[in-house]
């Protein structure tokens, strides 16, 4: 070993301070998820659930859509936290966890699209939903990125992208529970397609904030 490397090792060892070990991905995720649930609960005071929510919860397709969305939120949150560790906490499968929920979610939307006959009336508003989702996504996204930044991700693009998908699903879920519309065209265009955009923004944010 060269003198320089030996000197560096000696310096690093001498200046080493005790550090708090990072919690495992599941614990990190649960922290974020609990905060997201509290946030969702608080939001119901501002945007109360749609008046026919009790009835809608008996509709299998609505229920499947909401459950699939919750699964996307949980799996992508777990995946993002695993991605914040250099070795993925040696749980590579966690990174791929969102694949099945996302496929399930897309399938449910496709079934809803086919079942929308006669089509449900479109709401009078359009992009206002996207504005709301953006506003609802900012806090969970900031929280998730702040948490990931404290770790040492070597897949920062992916971590940022998946973190934003998890955060945007909080916004989408809030609106899906609160907004009194079942027009599938409106839901796909103004609620769910923007999630892809959030993912792309997340990739950029990951590069900006998670690179170390």
């Amino acid at each position: 070993m060269t003198d320089n490397t030996e000197n560096l090792i000696a310096t690093l060892a001498n200046t080493m301070e005790p550090v708090t070990r990072a919690a495992p991905p599941l614990v990190l995720f649960l922290k974020w998820f609990c905060c997201a649930l509290i946030y969702l609960a608080l939001l119901t005071f501002i945007w109360p659930p749609r008046p026919d929510i009790a009835l809608k919860l008996h509709s299998p397709l609505y229920l499947a859509e909401v459950v699939a969305l919750i699964m996307v939120m949980i799996s992508s949150g777990l995946s993002a936290t695993a991605l914040s560790f250099p070795d993925l906490h040696q749980k590579r499968w966690l990174v791929f966890a969102p694949v099945i929920p996302i496929l399930l979610f897309v399938t449910v939307l496709a079934i809803e699209w086919l079942a929308d006959n006669p089509p449900a009336p479109a709401p009078v508003h359009s992009f206002e939903c996207l504005q709301c989702i953006i506003l609802l996504t900012i806090l969970p996204a900031a929280g998730m990125l702040y948490m990931l930044r404290k770790q040492a991700s070597i897949h920062y693009y992916l971590a940022g992208g998946i973190a934003l998908i998890a955060a945007s699903s909080v916004g989408c879920l809030t609106l899906r529970i609160a907004e009194n519309t079942d027009c599938i065209y409106h839901l796909i265009t103004w609620h769910y397609l923007p999630m892809i955009g959030f993912g792309i923004i997340g990739i950029w944010l990951g590069r900006k904030f998670l690179k170390w």
């Binding site: 490397t5 690093l12 060892a13 550090v19 990072a22 770790q151 070597i154």
Partner: protein, 180 residues
């Protein structure tokens, strides 16, 4: 053998995380010994290997809080090493591409703008002197003393291509200054 090394390093790292500085030094030395052959297979320049190894050790130091002392140590250390190696190679090839680009630009410019400049060297001499020392010297030799790029290269002990690139960078700076 690999499992043995992993167990030793894992144990040392566990002690290090508990605050044992000697164990930490031993863990880093063991990590350096483990990573050097990996880097030697991928890089040829000895100084480059040593620089990168040091960078990896610093990264391991910075990210040590993400290792819990429970899971295997080597996959964690190698993940960081691969990350830094890819970063290094990306920067290395980007430099090469930039240099090749500047070289081809320099070839075009030195054939036209430089030799047939509408400005006399004397009129911009003051601006030339404000350039970095090496660039100013090269321009002085080419335009003040009339040497070719090849002659300048042998005179100051540089490659001809490097002289052209340095001159090209200097022309860019001068062009910007004179346009102001």
């Amino acid at each position: 053998m690999q499992a043995g090394t992993d167990n030793i390093l894992k144990e040392l790292m566990r002690q290090a995380l508990a605050g044992d500085k000697r164990a930490y030094a031993a863990a880093l030395s063991g990590t350096a010994r483990m990573l050097r052959p990996y880097l030697c297979k991928r890089l040829s320049n000895r100084n480059e290997i040593e620089d990168l190894l040091q960078e990896i050790l610093i990264s391991i130091h910075k990210a040590r809080h993400t290792y819990d002392g429970q899971r295997p140590y080597t996959p964690w250390a190698f993940a960081i090493a691969r990350y830094r190696l890819h970063d290094h190679l990306r920067a290395h090839y980007a430099d090469h591409l930039r240099f090749a680009g500047e070289l081809s630009e320099a070839d075009n410019i030195s054939a036209t703008d430089v030799t047939e400049s509408a400005l006399s060297y004397e009129s911009i001499k003051e601006e030339v002197q404000k350039l970095p020392e090496k660039q100013a010297r090269i321009l002085h030799l080419i335009h003040g003393d009339g040497y070719t790029a090849k002659e300048v290269a042998s005179k100051i002990g540089m490659k001809e291509s490097a002289v052209k690139v340095a001159a090209h960078r200097a022309y860019k700076i001068l062009k910007k200054k004179l346009a102001e």
